[in-house]
């Protein structure tokens, strides 16, 4: 089984994007940072008690699924939209939604556009081989607006083309819009339009057919959410170990044997929080308001706080 293989080789091989600030981005020293990256680190922490027991494979949109299918990577954590066809026809399993996104548009402020419905006749730049490409087509068709599309292989090329004026509109997941705006010559000259034209639940993906590995991935994600809900964070996790709250006790492995049931140690969730923090911490650290991206929690707040991040209980 995958888990045994991963344990045997001593690290998690994780597929990430080739560079999307806030989600997975290498710095000039070659260290990877970002929300997607941190999820992989969380998995490594859960399995090995070492957040660095992970190796990253940067993948283009085109390569990502084949890399997963061929077993080249163990888990794909790369702003991948959960769609039915991918879930069913490509032999993939989505383990959860680490970021609820939606596709948006960015335009130059100088155009004076305030709504996506004014984009009739626009030229749109996007990345090829993504759901984005399909959504744009749907949106413009639905609203009976003519448009032209220019699709590029890599995100950087899209940004460059947009920056050079090859197109009026740059479209991708809203999170990506904020991230990519940083790369423009004058970020201040561009605005993100309010419309969100699609549901883009992004999350980690594993290969179909290995339930144990699927469970591990899924529950690492749930642990991150549950930890935030229970108020457990990397700073207080050691104290919380002695908490009397049964929810916390089960989560941190001081009660019950939930970890062993999925092939991990019982303190798997403790390890995760200890090394990478809870979901809220990860979010704030990588994309939150204090980062250059400055994205508000919005849909990604906990269900209890007006968002839709929700995890089944550990029980």
């Amino acid at each position: 089984a995958k888990l045994d293989d991963v344990k045997a080789k001593g690290f998690v091989q994780c597929g990430v994007s080739q560079g999307l600030p806030g989600f997975s981005n290498p710095d000039s020293a070659g260290n990877w940072t970002g929300l997607d990256v941190d999820f992989c680190r969380a998995m490594a922490a859960a399995i090995f008690d070492d957040a660095n027991a992970v190796k990253f494979t940067p993948l283009s949109a085109k390569e990502r699924f084949t890399a997963l299918q061929s077993g080249e990577i163990d888990v794909l954590s790369r702003n991948t939209t959960w769609t039915m066809s991918r879930d069913t026809q490509l032999g993939l399993n989505f383990a959860g939604v680490t970021y609820y996104d939606g596709q948006g548009f960015m335009v130059r402020k100088s155009l004076g556009v305030t709504s996506a419905l004014e984009l009739s006749g626009a030229t749109v730049c996007t990345q090829t081989g993504t759901t984005t490409e399909l959504n744009v087509a749907d949106y413009f068709r639905a609203n009976n607006m003519p448009y032209e599309i220019v699709a590029f292989e890599k995100n950087d090329e899209v940004v460059q083309a947009y920056d050079a004026g090859r197109c009026d509109v740059f479209t991708t997941d809203a999170s990506g819009l904020y991230a990519e705006r940083l790369k423009l010559t004058n970020p201040g000259d561009h605005q993100v339009l309010p419309e969100i034209i699609s549901k883009e639940p992004l999350g980690p993906v594993v290969q179909q057919g290995d339930d144990q590995w699927f469970n591990v991935t899924k529950w690492v994600y749930f642990a991150l959410i549950n930890a935030e809900e229970a108020g457990v964070n990397s700073a207080n996790v050691d104290e919380m170990k002695s908490s009397e709250d049964p929810n916390v006790k089960r989560l941190l492995g001081t009660e019950g044997a939930f970890g062993e049931a999925i092939g991990l140690s019982n303190d798997w969730a403790y390890r995760v929080v200890k090394h990478v923090g809870n979901y809220g911490e990860i979010f704030e650290r990588n994309v939150g308001p204090d980062t250059p991206l400055g994205i508000a929690r919005g849909l990604n707040a906990l269900w209890s706080k007006g968002g839709i991040q929700y995890a089944p209980p550990v029980r």
Partner: protein
């Protein structure tokens, strides 16, 4: 009839040519302004040269930024109307990454040794007069790859460095050099196969060669990075770099085979007969007589194939590997340095690096060609 007899009494002296045919003026007259059409051509040429080189120099030297900490240095203040040229400060900051990729900083000395050893072994190999060619070749082709392999990947007490951390010039060189050395023996076999008189062996070689020569390298790269894993049994998997290497090797082996075949064709039949008459067997004849001569003849062709391969390494960026160009492109995503001229500077830098390598090699191949040529006449 006149008296035809004539004897010259005095030797007329060697005179300098008329002024308008020598020196700068004569040269210009002959080479630049020999006719009206030529004069017009010259003027057009000068204008072309000016309009190409002037902006280039202005961009890369005059308006260039040499020092700086981040993008501020390379962005002209708004409304200042200044043109900022090449942002060399950015290249300087990123230079280590362009050379080593994301190879761990503390381990980069290993890469340096590999580069150094390579130069140390290659230079005496490439200079015709230097002795011990055979030992040198053995070291370069057998010992060096092993040493380089362990130095780069680690083991024996060295920290293991995954290939996905490699990048930049390192990957470019690894792919090009491995590609060419691995494709040479394969290419020789294929060339021999293509000249074989066993029909099936010939057919297989021909199909193999023509297939690889008929498809674009990037589809080969896609195939090796996407499809190869499908071909292997479950669980068997190998490194991405290795897969790309396999693709590149098979591809260049086909080209190499055609180069070697050219050499084999140039060896006269008498050489085969001489060897046979002495009682040499097929492989002895090939190994001792035919191939040494044929390969020597095609050194320029091999170098040219190498240049082609060297340039083609850039295509690996399409399958998501970070060769020099890939590394440069990936640095464009770094907001700390993003500026209007960042991409231009990066591409210019890449162009200069690739150009110097390729131009150097093509000069060398020209030199060898001349050398071999005279060597033949003797």
């Amino acid at each position: 009839m006149t008296d035809l007899s004539y004897v010259r009494a005095d030797e007329s002296p060697n005179l300098p040519p008329p002024v308008n045919t020598t020196g700068v003026i004569g040269w210009m007259r002959a080479n630049l302004f020999s006719s009206i059409g030529n004069t017009i051509l010259t003027l057009i040429g000068v204008f072309l040269a000016y309009s190409i080189f002037e902006p280039l120099i202005e961009f890369s030297l005059i308006n260039a930024v040499w020092e700086g900490e981040n993008r501020q240095a390379c962005v002209a203040p708004p409304d200042s109307g200044l043109h900022v040229g090449a942002c060399w400060a950015y290249v300087k900051a990123y230079l280590p990454q362009f050379i080593y990729g994301r190879y761990p900083i503390d381990e980069r000395w290993r890469v340096d040794i590999v580069y150094g050893l390579f130069a140390l072994l290659l230079i005496p190999m490439a200079i015709p007069g230097v002795p011990f060619k055979r030992t040198n070749a053995l070291l370069l082709l057998i010992a060096y790859p092993i040493v380089a392999y362990f130095l780069l990947t680690g083991g024996f007490g060295l920290q293991i460095v995954e290939t996905n951390l490699w990048g930049g010039l390192l990957v470019t060189l690894v792919i090009a050099v491995t590609g060419i050395t691995a494709s040479l023996p394969l290419g020789i076999l294929l060339a021999l196969g293509r000249r074989s008189n066993l029909p099936i062996i010939k057919l297989v070689s021909v199909i193999f060669i023509e297939f690889w020569r008929g498809v674009p390298l990037i589809t080969v790269l896609f195939m090796s990075s996407v499809m190869l894993p499908l071909f292997l049994p479950e669980g068997v998997n190998f490194d991405k770099l290795l897969r790309v290497l396999i693709g590149v090797t098979l591809f260049s082996a086909a080209y190499m085979a055609e180069v070697v075949r050219g050499g084999l064709q140039a060896i006269p039949k008498g050489q085969y007969e001489g060897a046979q008459a002495l009682g040499l067997r097929y492989w002895q004849m090939m190994g001792l007589i035919i191939l040494p001569q044929a390969l020597k003849l095609v050194i320029p062709g091999i170098v040219n194939t190498f240049i082609g391969l060297f340039k083609d390494t850039t295509l690996v960026l399409i399958v998501g590997m970070f060769d020099l160009l890939g590394q440069i492109q990936s640095s464009f995503t770094d907001p700390t340095w993003s500026s209007p001229t960042q991409a231009h500077t990066g591409y210019l830098f890449a162009a200069m690096v690739f150009w110097s390598f390729c131009f150097g090699m093509s000069r060398y191949s020209l030199f060898m060609e001349k050398k071999l040529h005279t060597g033949h006449k003797r």
